[in-house]
Every structure is written in C-alpha cells, then in structure tokens.
Amino acid sequence: MRKIITILLLSIVAVGISLSLAKIPFGQPKTKVGTRYIDKGIEETGAVNIVTSVVVSYRGFDTLGEVTVLFIAATGLGAVLRIAKTKAAAIEPASFVLQTGCRVLFPLILVFGSYIFIHGHLTPGGGFQGGAIIASAFVLIYLGCREKRISEKMSTTLESLGGVIFVVVGLIGLAVGGYFLLNFLPKGQPYLLLSAGIIPVIYIAIGFKVGSELAGIIDNLIEESQ
C-alpha cells in the first residue's frame, strides 16, 4: 500500500520536474557573475585557481559558516556517543605485512595531503580535500596498527587552533581595512607559492582543522567497539 502511493507521488514529481528541466538548455552560459569573477580574478585576489578565490575571498563568509557546521557536527557526535559505551573485547593484532605496509605508507600520505592544501591557490585542491586525505591516513593507522590511538588532546587542540586562526585573520582584516576578511597581505606575482595574500594562510588553517576533525569523528565511532 505504501509502495503504491510512493510510486504514484514520485511519478507526479517526475513529470513536473522533467517538464521544467526541458526548458533549461544544456551547455549555454547562463549567468554573468561567473564571467566577472574570471575576468577580474587574478588582479583582485592574486590566486590562479578561480574556484579557490571564490571559496575563500569572494565568498569567504560562507566558508566560515561551513567550518562552524562541521565543528557542531563533530562536537554533537562526541557528546551523543559518550554515553553509549560497549564492552571492549580482546584486540587481535593484524598480520605482519599489513602492519609494515601501514607504517610505511602513513608519512607518505601525510606529505601528499599537506602538498594538496598548501598549493590550493595554484593547482586543483585546497583545504577540504587535503584534510580528507589526512583523515584517510589516520583510518589506515586504525586498520593496520590497531593498538594505537591518536591522543584526543592533540586532536582537539589542532582543531581549535585552526578555527581560531581563521577568525583572527578575519578580525585583523576588519581592524586594518574596512571589512571582515580583507586581503591585507601583499598579493605578489601570480603563479608563485607566496602569493594571493591571506588565501594560503586560511587554507592551511582549514586543512589542519578538517583533517583532525574527521579523524576525531572516526576515533569516536570506533572507540570500544572492537
């Protein structure tokens, strides 16, 4: 009974959406804001990656909101799961090949993730992608060397430090110029590593914050479930 009503409802929704989708042509330029950001992007922000300059400089306040949502989710998960603890069974160690492989791969993955968020304004990448890769390195450690846990104090300290640096850089912009997140460092030449003002600083802070946050989420979920 429920399935029939659902299929009827979804077919009405499908007909409605496809009638309106037929009016949107695929592959035509639709807005004018994008061309303005592409034309004036390099001389106003100094970053060569236009998506990075939109995320951090033109729409930097939305990124601050997103970082706040991620922080609230990680804190809420830690608070909910603190009460539901299960008994800890004996942990059997992994095989020798897996242990050695994980120990060899862990620093290489960390270096790769750091490369991606440091060069966020020059190549495709940025803080969120690099942070996710660093969190995957910590998941690999949980898989291979099962007795180790990351110390919770260091993970929360790194996460708070990343958020505080983001807000402090914005407030310095407010004090120096007129508005929050003003680009107050010199823009330099494009295509160099030390260019684009405050964009590398903000992306390094976001990379540390997202990496330690996602690793903390996995740590809270795994805790005492083995």
Binding site: V51, P124, F128, Q129, I133, V139, L221, I222
Partner: protein, 76 residues
C-alpha cells in the same frame, strides 16, 4: 561513454535499494559516489571531483561500516 557511466550509476543506486545485506548496500553507494566523481571530471570540475572522491567515496564508506559494526548487519 557518458551514457554508459550514467547507466552504471543508476544500476548501482537500484542495487543499494534492493540488497538486504547492509554492507553490500554501502559498497553499492560507494560505487555511485565513485562514478559521480568521474562524471564531475567530464564536466570540467577538478576541485569537486577530488572532494567527492576523497570525502564521498572513502570517508563516508568508512563511517558507515564502523556504524554497521556496532548495530545489526542484516535488514529484517
């Protein structure tokens, strides 16, 4: 080329609906995320493709498998 990938993606989504073993359903959802990441590359969006592959295909699957381990594995 694109039509074949879209057909495989929809097949994976239907498989995630039909399977009763929850771990198989999660692997089908990871397949959907992976093919979506390839389609993002065809739409000339390398930043979004990297984010979807790292976050959607890898971390979401890991979080799901750890959560399924703490509850039941088969859907009643």
């Amino acid at each position: 080329m694109v039509s074949v990938l879209v057909f495989l993606m929809l097949l994976g989504a239907v498989a995630a609906c039909v399977f009763r073993d929850l771990i198989s359903a999660v692997i089908a959802a990871a397949l959907v995320s992976l093919i979506a990441s390839i389609l993002f590359y065809f739409l000339q969006a390398p930043d979004v493709a990297m984010a979807e592959a790292a976050i959607g295909a890898a971390l979401t699957t890991a979080i799901f498998i750890v959560a399924i381990r703490r509850t039941d594995r088969y859907e009643q």
